[in-house]
Symmetry: C2
Subunit: 242 residues, 2 copies
């Protein structure tokens, strides 16, 4: 492969920056790891042994690259990284649970949401454009590697998503919905479900209510709305795999 470059959205690979994130990538998706970068300063401890053993096992090239690590991370204390292909498995369109993020923009939120999705059995994720770059190394890091265990698909619009799916029960999380989350009995659903969450600032467009069942997470008047990652966490917990 050609020399590695600083991250940009147009590259077909991203970086898991740091020893722990690199280990996560090697454990969760070794077939996608193209190369592993190591610092001369990396301690030869148990985590290092695990990392190099995984590289040996999967025949992944390692190289000492202190300058590149500094350049990629913008820090002096990033001692390992993995370059990871963005091309993973496509989402399973008939999976029992989809998480659909409509126009997500916040990197930290997105990483936390991905980690939570993996924890609650939402392994198929749909991102509706415009949206942040889900493969930005900051999202990878915030997801604690969960991104590499998920099947993530990108859709130009909600219509695009809907045209490639059928028979799914959509739940649209909106502040002014009539139905409260606790009134719904998610575990009895027979059809595969899609939980749909809007942008951090503006939420979902009002007209999305007609696409399925609008749902409200009961909350007091003292705050305008919940943080998106918190709302998605509460929603996915309610619809989690039993």
């Amino acid at each position: 492969m050609p020399p590695l470059e600083p991250y940009s959205a147009s590259l077909d690979y991203t970086y898991a920056l740091g020893l722990y994130p690199a280990l996560e990538a090697l454990t969760r998706a070794p077939e996608r790891v193209r190369r592993v970068l190591l610092s001369k300063q990396l301690n030869r401890d148990a985590a290092y042994e695990k990392l190099t053993a995984l590289c040996d096992k999967h025949k992944i090239r390692t190289e000492t690259a202190d300058r590149l690590l500094r350049r990629l991370s913008g820090k002096d204390n990033c001692f390992a990284a993995a370059a990871v292909s963005k091309h993973g498995e496509e989402p399973n369109m008939s999976a029992p649970r989809h998480l659909v993020l409509h126009n997500p923009m916040d990197m930290g939120n997105a990483g936390t949401i991905l980690r939570t999705a993996l924890g609650f059995g939402f392994e198929d994720i749909a991102i509706i454009s415009p949206a942040l770059d889900i493969y930005d190394p900051r999202v990878v890091r915030a997801s604690m590697g969960a991104l590499f265990s998920l099947r993530v698909g990108f859709f130009e619009s909600m219509d695009d998503y809907l045209s490639r799916n059928s028979g799914r029960q959509l739940y649209l999380f909106m502040l002014d919905s009539a139905a409260a989350l606790s009134e719904i009995n998610p575990r009895k659903d027979e059809a595969p479900v899609s939980l749909v969450f809007g942008n951090e600032g503006s939420g979902l467009p009002a007209e999305f209510a007609s696409l399925g069942t609008p749902v409200r997470i009961e909350q007091g008047e003292a705050i305008d709305s919940l943080n998106l990652a918190i709302a998605a966490g509460i929603g996915m917990y309610a619809f989690r795999r039993v």
Copy 2:
């Protein structure tokens, strides 16, 4: 009052940095606002009118202070700030719901948790040392002003908290607890409840299990644990005010 200083944990006031956070402070806790700083660059729009009207109403001094705003925020685009006393109301020890954070350290998490707590009717918060500085302007900002609507108390240890409370039902959120959150029927509780969450990295000490009912949020094996703010959000939603 003496001249305002850059924020430090030892000051008895903090800053709500930015127009929206300053408005939140003026709306939620005007009696705690000592002074409002404005930039010459601030647009004289509706939000500005609201801000100055609130200052007039509560007889709060405003001053133009571009240099101080830059120094406080480290940015060129912070056009307003409120200096807010840290001394608010003490927590109500017999409140129906307490949120207890044991050794929280992450600023962003803490702000999100405070905002969520306010949304679910947890208005009395106990912080057990050692802990982050909950009044750091970054927490204030992440809480979107919720900090100024809550009663926050500080305790030297869990024993200190327990010695100043009696008759509360404690729920201790721990990964390996026998009882799952969905098996508990929180809404039927008669006694006031305290939901206790541990540090972001290490969780609660195992011996805390004996202090009340240990609770586990059901999650798959694919992640080590949920993000603290997500776990606290799910827990508080389950125990929210009806």
